[in-house]
């Protein structure tokens, strides 16, 4: 057992250049190194084109680094013979739930990965049911995916990954196409999986409120990691976040604005409860 489930070392990446085009290809990732610890809930934040989705696709060998190495549970993702071991350990959920559901019945879709791995039918039944229960979609197992809401579809997609019993689940903007209710459902599911089942979670998002719930936030800009810390410390750099086009949670912003106007306040506040307490203290003087 390795304490680090994912370890990226000096990863460089660029897409194949167009042979007609003489300009050198744009570097999407520049010398990125990061470790994801077992059981951690990490959020990766970044602007469009910051390389956050690209680094995610390196975590299970969908993309292979042009320079540097990525190890998953000690296995090099460039090792073609072990690519399915890597993908079984690190599952991936994408933005659009419609484009990742393969089968026409919920439970068959959840079984898809297990069918590919050649799991015996009896064990498969059990794992599919467990996965559906853990995302709260067991009652819908015989439904057709197009009858479900966006949030429900995304939970089915998560169940399809959980059924593989991965160590880590990487979610690439899983809530971007959902309504607020669906977003809440999905985030709650991710937190439960991380908390109750000890599954390492890597959440790529551009919602600050979602990132604030993680154990750790990695901020990317222009293919580089520019911050890597606990949420409180990351969001307290309000000006730095704004300079790269990112926001901070509304409560942090409020604290920041108060501070700018000369009222003593703490920008390490990221939750509404803390904010309410701090304001109460301020008002009582």
């Amino acid at each position: 057992m390795d304490e680090k489930i994912i370890s990226a070392q000096n990863v460089d990446f660029h897409y194949e250049a167009d042979p007609e085009d003489k300009t050198p290809p744009k570097q999407v990732l520049k010398n990125v190194s990061l470790d994801i610890g077992r059981g951690q809930f990490t959020a990766i934040l970044g602007h469009n084109g910051s390389g956050k989705s690209t680094i995610a696709k390196h975590m299970n060998g969908i993309l292979l680094p042009c320079g540097g190495k990525v190890y998953v549970d000690g296995i090099d993702t460039c090792d073609e013979k072990k690519i399915f071991d890597v993908r079984q350990r690190v599952g991936m959920v994408f933005q659009n739930p419609d484009n990742q559901i393969v089968a026409t019945i919920v439970e068959e879709d959840v079984a898809f990965a297990l069918e590919n791995l050649g799991v015996p039918p009896d064990e498969m039944r059990e794992r599919v049911d467990d996965a559906l229960r853990s995302v709260g979609m067991y009652e819908y197992r015989e439904h057709s995916p197009h009858q479900l809401s966006g949030g429900q579809k995304q939970r089915v997609a998560i169940a399809g990954i959980i059924a593989m019993r991965p160590d880590c689940i990487v979610l690439d903007e899983p809530t971007a196409m959902l309504d607020p209710k669906g977003r809440q459902e999905v985030l709650k599911t991710i937190r439960e999986l991380n908390h109750d089942f000890g599954i390492t979670a890597v959440l790529i998002t551009h919602y600050m409120e979602e990132a604030a719930q993680a154990d750790r936030i990695i901020v990317m800009d222009n293919g580089e990691i520019i911050m890597d810390d606990i949420p409180k410390n990351v969001f307290s750099n309000v000006e730095k976040m704004k300079s790269i086009g990112l926001d901070v949670p509304q409560v942090t912003e409020l604290m920041y604005l108060l501070g700018r106007d000369g009222i003593p306040s703490d920008t390490h506040i990221i939750s509404e409860e803390e904010c309410a307490d701090a304001l109460e203290k301020l008002l009582k003087g």
Binding site: A103, V128, H146
Partner: protein
Amino acid sequence: MLKDITIGQYFPGRSAVHSLDPRFKIIITGVFIGMLFAADGFAALAVGLVFLAMSFIMSKIPFRLMLKSLKPIVPIIIFTSVLNIFFLDGAPLVKFGFIKITAEGLRTSAFMVIRIIALIMGSSLLTYTTSPITLTDAIERLLSPLKKINLPVHELAMMMTIALRFIPTLIEETDKIISAQKARGADMESGNILQRAKALTPILIPLFVSAFRRAEELAVAMECRCYQGGDGRTRLRQLRSEGKDYFALGVSIVFLDIVIMLNCIFG
């Protein structure tokens, strides 16, 4: 508007016909088609119809649904009967100038019409009582011996499954694109047929682009779930053949035998 299209026309139920092993259902449908084509005379054809009626009653499919399945083939039925009535040689019953109607013509045309209707009803019964996904499964398994001659059976079945899965998604998308183009002033309801066909371009192009994008994303998602083709794959849903499946197949074969025997007697 497009949402009303039902594809696969599965009618969920728990009847005896529904619960048969889909592989057997496909074979039995084949035997039934055999009966219809083997039949030479009305007596033999009637035996096939009895078999159809029996399965039909057991399936508990509403009769109007069965009639609905015949709607698209009405032009074919009319065309065949007209051809047979007017162009068959024989002793004319009625004659107006060059048009003549013969007894053989009437007889053959009635025979053909009954045969076509029975054929469509029989195959609709299969799709009414079997969900598309089970049907695909059964086809994959029935064809699996053909893997030996390098027919990509698993890939074909996978393509069918994905097509079935994406039909509602793409229909929904088409609806959205139509609304979006209408909102931009696209006119799709007037003009002659050529103009209308041209008006479809701004719908088809975005639809194709989006379908390709979906395909790409789906391929990555499938790879993430360790998809590696049909080798070494297991299935969640196992197809089990029981006594009743063999019994049903036996009954259909007996009917086929009766049809052949009747042919020998009357033929």
